[in-house]
Structures are given as C-alpha cells and as structure tokens.
C-alpha cells in the first residue's frame, strides 16, 4: 500500500469514527431524555407519572456544545416526584404509568444506555 493511499484510508476511517461518535452522543442524549421522561427497559427507569402531563412534557434536551447536553425540567415539583416524597410524606402513585426514581435509575443505567446505543450504531 502506498503512503498516499494509507493516508486516504486513515482519513476516511477517522471521519467515520468522528461521525459515529457524534451520532452516538446525540443518540445517547436522546435516550437519556426518553428514559427519564417515558421509561426505558435498558435502564429500568419507570418514566414520569402522569396526571396532567405537565411534568412529563416539561423535560427537554438542550445541546450546549458538540460534546455537552443538558436534560432538565423547570417544574417545581419534579424533585419530590423523583424521590417519591411530597409535602405530607411518602407519595402514593395514582398514575397508571411511570413511577418514582426515573432520574436515578437512568443515571445508574447510563453505561448500559451507551452500550445499547453504540451497538445500534455498530449494526449499521
């Protein structure tokens, strides 16, 4: 193999890796939001309980840079819902969907989420 051809192939491989890395980052960020918002079999997160849908709909994903994303909500009662604790003690789940601890389950399952998304990319 000539040096020129080697360089071309190396550049092509690097571009492919860069593209896959960027795609993985976007996909993982989206999967994290989905895990917190709607639950995930990969992380075991139950997703947000739903009464009016206000909290579930409030979660949003923002890309601060090519390598940083923030998944957040500005709903005041999001922390008590996460912990399952309300103003008068432990909350009773009345929603047919979702549950408590979605954020911490997503956090605990983050590595699995990355592996899952990487596997999906690698299959293409």
């Amino acid at each position: 193999m000539s040096a020129a051809r080697f360089n071309r192939e190396l550049d092509a491989w690097l571009n492919k890796v860069k593209g896959r890395r960027e795609a993985l980052f976007v996909n993982v960020a989206s999967a994290v939001k989905a895990s917190v918002q709607s639950g995930s079999p990969v992380t075991g997160s139950p997703g947000q309980p739903v009464q009016t849908g206000h909290l579930k709909g409030s979660w949003h994903l923002e890309f601060e840079s090519p390598t940083a994303a923030v998944i957040s909500t500005n709903v005041e009662y999001a922390p008590p819902i996460e912990e399952g604790v309300g103003p008068h003690g432990a909350l009773t789940l009345r929603s047919q969907v979702g549950g408590w601890h979605s954020v911490k389950m997503t956090r605990a399952g983050f590595q699995r989420l990355v592996q899952h998304e990487a596997k999906k990319l690698g299959a293409r």
Partner: protein, 222 residues
C-alpha cells in the same frame, strides 16, 4: 438464578449494621435531661441535634433506649427520657434510626415528628444476559434507596452525617454474599450517591434525604 428477595434482605441486613457516631467505651453518666461526660467531647465525636442515640451498659433500661438529641455541648447531650445514673463505663452511639419503614410492612412503632426514621425502597432494575449461550450469565443491577427522615429545623449536621455514614457503609465494591452463593457488589460507576434535602410541610415535620446505592449481581440463569 436472580434472587431479588435474597438481595433485598442482604442489603437490609447491611443497613442494620450502620454506625454513624459513637463515644466508644468511656465514662458516661445520665441525668434527667440527658447524658454527661467528664472527658472527651460529644461535639468532637460528631453528635448533633436530630440524631437518635442509644446507650449501652447503663444499668437503667431507659438510659439504653433510643432517644433523639435536642442539644449538644462538649460534655452534655440533651435528650428526653433519661433517668439519673452515676458515671460508669458505657457507650453512646448513633446508628440506623430505630423506626424503620421496611417495604410493604407497617412499622412496629409509627414514625413521630420528633424522631428520625428510615424508609427503604428496593428497585430491582434491568437485567441482561451478558455471556453467550442459553446458559449465559444474567446480570442484574438493582438500586437500594434508603431515605432518612430527619427532624425539621435541626440544621444539617444530623442528616448529612447519616447520609455520609451510609455512603461509607455501602462504599463501592462492598460485597454482600447471598445464601445461594451469588455475590452482590456495590457499583463504582455510578457510585452510591445522595439526594438533596426535601422538606415536608406538616409542622414541625421532617426533612428527608435519600441515599441511592447501585448494585450489580451476576448469576446463572437457573
């Protein structure tokens, strides 16, 4: 096989051996308002208002019973329920609160707003086959959540020390052995982490902080 029951009980058993603060064996006396010592310091040992303290080796059972500290100085703990007893070699210690709300079980003693208590939740988490073949090992990642309900308006020392002690007690790589021989290990990434303090509104009320302990267990499928 996956043994969530065994894992849950093993985690609970580990929590029961928590030690937050202790005087060690030392000369202690009791008065009608609490405990006293002639040497050493309760402050240096880490005792704080809002902690539940129990005695060991007092002659009077009331002085060994669990009670909540309301004030601390270097030489005195103020807590209700003590009876006068002259100095002797004893121990005062703080561990897991004596009122424990285990999952799906009404506690023997109902929580009261003047005393801390603990509530547990076991989240089984996802499972996956991680080695090849129909006999491939299963890996499960449960999460054990202990919520310490601290007495409101007692500052942060008590709750923070309960939380810190639990994080240390369930440090990464802590291994619990199940009766079937499986090993359940505290994960290091993520490592155990604490939640923020959340206040309950019913006066005087509690403030709750949770400790979230991620585990991992690999087991045969059957």
């Amino acid at each position: 096989m996956i043994d969530h029951f065994g894992m849950h009980l093993a985690m609970r058993a580990r929590a029961l051996t928590l030690s937050v603060v202790t005087t060690g064996s030392t000369s202690l006396s009791a008065t009608s308002t609490g405990y006293e010592r002639a040497s050493g310091s309760f402050l240096t040992d880490g005792f704080a208002p809002g902690m539940e303290v129990t005695g060991t080796s007092f002659s009077n059972a009331a002085n060994n019973a669990a009670k909540t500290i309301t004030a601390v100085t270097a030489t005195a703990l103020t807590c209700p329920g003590c009876v006068t007893e002259t100095a002797g070699t004893r121990t005062l210690s703080v561990g897991l609160p004596s009122t424990r709300v285990w999952e799906n079980l009404v506690p023997a003693t109902a929580p009261t707003v003047t005393d801390p208590y603990v509530l547990e939740q076991y989240l089984p988490g996802p499972a996956a086959r991680v080695t090849v073949g129909s006999d491939g090992q299963l890996e499960v990642e449960p999460l054990y959540v202990l919520s310490i309900y601290g007495v409101a308006n007692t500052d942060v020392a008590a709750l923070r020390q309960y939380v810190d002690a639990l994080l240390l007690h369930f440090a990464p790589d802590t291994v619990l052995t199940l009766s079937n021989g499986d090993l359940v290990r505290v994960r290091g990434n993520p490592a155990p982490f604490a939640g923020q303090l959340l206040r309950r509104e019913d006066a005087p009320g509690w403030v709750v902080a949770s400790v979230n302990i991620p585990f991992r267990c690999r087991t045969a499928p059957n």
